[in-house]
């Protein structure tokens, strides 16, 4: 009976979504969107505040927003305040996990697994490669796909590899907490510098440079690197909490 009611409810939901998509002037058919009628056109042409300069790769200098990757321009420049809120949500969630799982004295979860010599050496070598990939993805976040969130998670994955390859390995959780607090505070401080010394909160107060160069886009690479550090240390903390247990 209950399954039948759920089925009716779910079918009603799907039917309503499909019905509301028919002949809807705001949701055109799949693949037939006209971007010139949407707000995204201003993000692509960089004329939200009325700039009229043409956007050309490798030529245009000091645009309204510097990153060549438009998604990065939205996440870390136009909607940077939103991203600050999101990082706060992730922080609260890691705080909740630590509150639930990390009470009392901790020891490593015993996986009954003893790594041999090859695995230990190989995991150390792979650790460096994965860490470098994460840092590359973070640093080039304003030019190529990627950025702070996947890069930070790659850094956390390299630490996860160390945890899996050694049964007794534990990182210093306190240093992660310190790193995370410093990165988060610096993000807010950059915003406050923009508020008091320049126009508004999180304003891009550095020179935007030439579109497509590594040292361009003003504060966007700095902000993305801080986000990467914060996400990486938070997720490493969550992994540590899941792989430890209380001493009975």
């Amino acid at each position: 009976m209950k399954n039948f009611l759920s089925l009716v409810l779910v079918l009603a939901l799907g039917g309503m979504i499909i019905l509301s998509l028919q002949n809807n002037q705001y949701f055109t058919a799949y693949g037939e969107v006209d971007i010139t009628k949407r707000v995204s056109e201003s993000y692509i042409d960089r004329d939200v505040n009325g700039g009229t300069q043409a956007v050309e790769f490798g030529v245009a200098n000091n645009l309204e927003s510097g990153p060549a990757n438009i998604v990065t321009a939205i996440v870390a420049d136009y909607r940077s305040f939103d991203t600050l809120g999101e990082v706060t949500v992730l922080f609260v969630s890691s705080l909740g996990v630590a509150l639930l799982l990390a009470s009392g004295k901790q020891k490593r979860l015993d996986l009954h697994f003893h790594p041999n010599f090859m695995l230990r050496v190989g995991s150390r070598a792979l650790f460096g490669i994965i860490l470098m990939t994460g840092i590359f993805v973070i640093v080039h976040g304003h030019l190529t796909p990627g950025g702070g969130f996947p890069g930070g998670t790659m850094i956390a994955s390299s630490i996860l590899l160390l945890y899996l390859a050694d049964d007794n390995f534990r990182t210093k959780v306190k240093s992660f907490k310190t790193l995370e607090s410093i990165a988060g505070s610096l993000y807010v401080i950059i915003g406050l510098v923009g508020l008091f010394a320049f126009d508004y909160f999180l304003v891009n107060f550095l020179d935007n440079g030439i579109l497509g160069e590594l040292f361009s886009a003003g504060i966007v690479p700095i902000v993305y690197a801080l986000i990467g550090l914060k996400v990486g240390s938070e997720i490493s903390g969550i992994i540590d909490n899941f792989l430890t247990e209380e001493v009975a």
Binding site: T72, L111, P145, P150, M154, S157, I239, E245
Partner: protein, 83 residues
């Protein structure tokens, strides 16, 4: 033309994997089906020209979330052994 065929195959596989993930009896099988569902969603993001989202979903959805599920199940298996 080729991209249309890939799109249809990916759509059907997404639905089949979601059904299996919800309905399989063993928890660890559900977790692995969820991981492969995540990996297929990466392909669908690439078909829809969203490389940023694809990279993020590949690292987080099919790597990190799966490992968190597996660690939870491992910790539980330990408790069962003790009892």
């Amino acid at each position: 033309m080729l991209i249309d065929i890939i799109e249809i195959v990916v759509s059907v596989l997404l639905i089949v994997l979601a059904f299996l993930a919800i309905n399989s009896k063993m928890l660890i099988k559900s977790v692995i089906f969820l991981s492969s569902l995540s990996m297929l969603s990466v392909i669908s993001f690439i078909i829809m020209q969203a490389p940023d989202v694809a990279v993020t979903e590949a690292v987080i959805g099919s790597g990190l979330v799966t490992s968190l599920f597996v660690f939870t199940l491992l910790a539980v298996r330990k408790v069962e052994e003790k009892i």
